[in-house]
Symmetry: C2
Subunit: 324 residues, 2 copies
């Protein structure tokens, strides 16, 4: 006979730069119900929380009401595990300029305990418990989405650092001279080149500075997305392939530096851009092999998240909730 | 009454690119006797081990003979804690081209168990147990010697990675275009600029490519050392001050990237070049503040090793010995 907990579920929230995905998760990691809202478009964080709670209400009812919910876990950009806050998140319209006590706000609105961590850390926990990192003690998850994030696991533990903000590998500097401006206020960050928006910028730059033919010229340059580039590359478009080649090479060079730090067993790529498959993974591996210190060569695996869509992030966020 | 162990001492060996310093250490971290040999100048590792054992013999006798020795701990460049080997160490004439089972070799010659780790990891253990990192859970030791090494502590544990080689921060790439060649076979590494030999190279470059006056022009360019540059800077030599400014700035920029990885409570600098004091520490701190992601600004301490000379490394190496 299965033991029934009085509060058998946690809410996991994968708070991304574009979408916020909620899942009601049981203790075996099964997602019982989901809902989602847009992350942006709210002037104030209060409006975002209102919209979240409104979207959550029906799915909470679906599993038997708030009394069945033990806690909530949130994975969010610039999320701080120690304080439950989001601090100076450059990609969030309502979280850019200060410290947002999001865990506390949800706690007050829902009446359940809420824990929060970096979105990429949540993905790393998800991969470690349910995904391709099962059994690994040293690995790095790199999330390729609106921004570039990372969750670093060393000796089987997430690296939070002295302040809860460790693992901001999207903001190592890849171009020290004439680097692209980044949402963080600096220049030359990995994220400015290798995020989905970075890929679109690369496309616009190449279209504007060359007269090479490309399927991408049929699109309004301002509206080009990384998905458009991926589709064009899939059709054999040379310029589009070169954009992914450039992006992958820079990621591979960055991973070579990360190996010098924590010598991980694997780099695990996560997020929408991994749908480009070999288009991006092959140049990553090639550039890594060409750039990594010889003692590390050939050791690290390069993997794509094995969990469907946003599941890893939602499951990871929910895992944080179980620990409340 | 103090409990007397039958084997009250360990041998600590700080194996540097230039000198190998041995210390006989008791369980309270007191160094009872020391000796040293040059690390280089041996064709084969067997000759190096012979010279080491010959130098050790009298100090071992001094503390009562080999029966009083519990174990030996070694801190060495490219040292691997897991396997007790030194692998492809670019700065060691007898360790450059392969895998040297140094722990096993000393074990067979001395008849005591021998453990080995990266020299910078040993320094980090020394700082954590006896030095300025006491009580810290997250810090990075950066060793500025013949090369640039690092020992990284996360959640109170040394970062060894999947293969025992994590923490090679001297080999992150700081110049991706036209970088200086490095002993590791690649180009643009931090070590090629910010090691003692890197500082001397910067001096030679500036003397050769400008006609600016400098006290350093009185020296044979091929024989200039980082100490010469430090002495000239101390006398107010503008060119020499600029060399340390350049070196410190690059270290500060590198530390800004390292913060994005593990957000340490402190960066601890260790090794001969720290004798330059503010000449190097001030530009490090300034460049760090100017380059670090805003969420990290003002958080990390910048410290110089509090342990005299090679003590931290010898004590750290000995601590590895206690754990055998």
């Amino acid at each position: 006979m299965e033991q029934q907990s009085l509060k058998p579920y946690v809410i996991g929230l994968d708070l991304g730069g574009t979408n916020s995905v909620f899942g009601i998760v049981d203790s075996r990691g099964e997602i019982k119900a989901t809902t989602a809202i847009k992350t942006q478009g709210y002037e104030k964080v209060e409006d975002y929380v209102d919209a979240s709670v409104a979207a959550l209400q029906p799915v909470i009812e679906e599993v038997g009401g708030i009394d069945k919910i033990k806690a909530m876990g949130i994975g969010a950009p610039n999320g701080n595990y120690y304080s439950g806050t989001i601090e100076f998140a450059p990609n969030l319209s309502w979280g850019r300029d200060g410290i947002v006590p999001l865990a506390k706000m949800f706690e007050e609105r829902l009446g359940v305990p809420v824990a929060l961590t970096n979105d990429a850390n949540a993905a790393a926990i998800g991969e470690m418990i349910y995904g391709v990192a099962r059994g690994m003690k040293n690995f790095i998850v790199i999330t390729l989405g609106t921004g570039v994030g990372s969750g670093i696991v060393v000796n089987g533990q997430l690296v939070y650092g002295c302040d809860g903000f460790a693992g901001e590998l999207g903001h190592v500097i890849m171009r020290r001279e004439n680097g692209r401006s980044c949402g963080c206020g600096r220049s030359g960050c990995l994220e400015a080149y290798c995020s989905a928006t970075g890929v679109a910028r690369t496309a616009r730059e190449l279209l504007a500075t060359t007269d090479r033919p490309s399927l991408l010229r049929e699109l309004n340059p301002e509206e080009i997305t990384s998905l458009d580039v991926s589709i064009a590359a899939g059709k054999g478009d040379e310029l589009a392939k070169e954009i992914y080649e450039f992006t992958g090479r820079m990621l591979g060079e960055a991973c070579a530096d990360f190996a010098a730090f924590s010598s991980p067993e694997a780099f695990i790529f996560f997020g929408g851009m991994t749908k480009a498959g070999d288009l991006i993974m092959e140049p990553i591996k090639k550039a890594y092999d060409e750039n990594v210190l010889n003692i590390f060569r050939g050791k690290a695996k390069f993997l794509v998240s094995g969990l469907e869509g946003a599941s890893a992030a939602v499951l990871g966020a929910s895992a944080v909730g179980w620990e409340v």
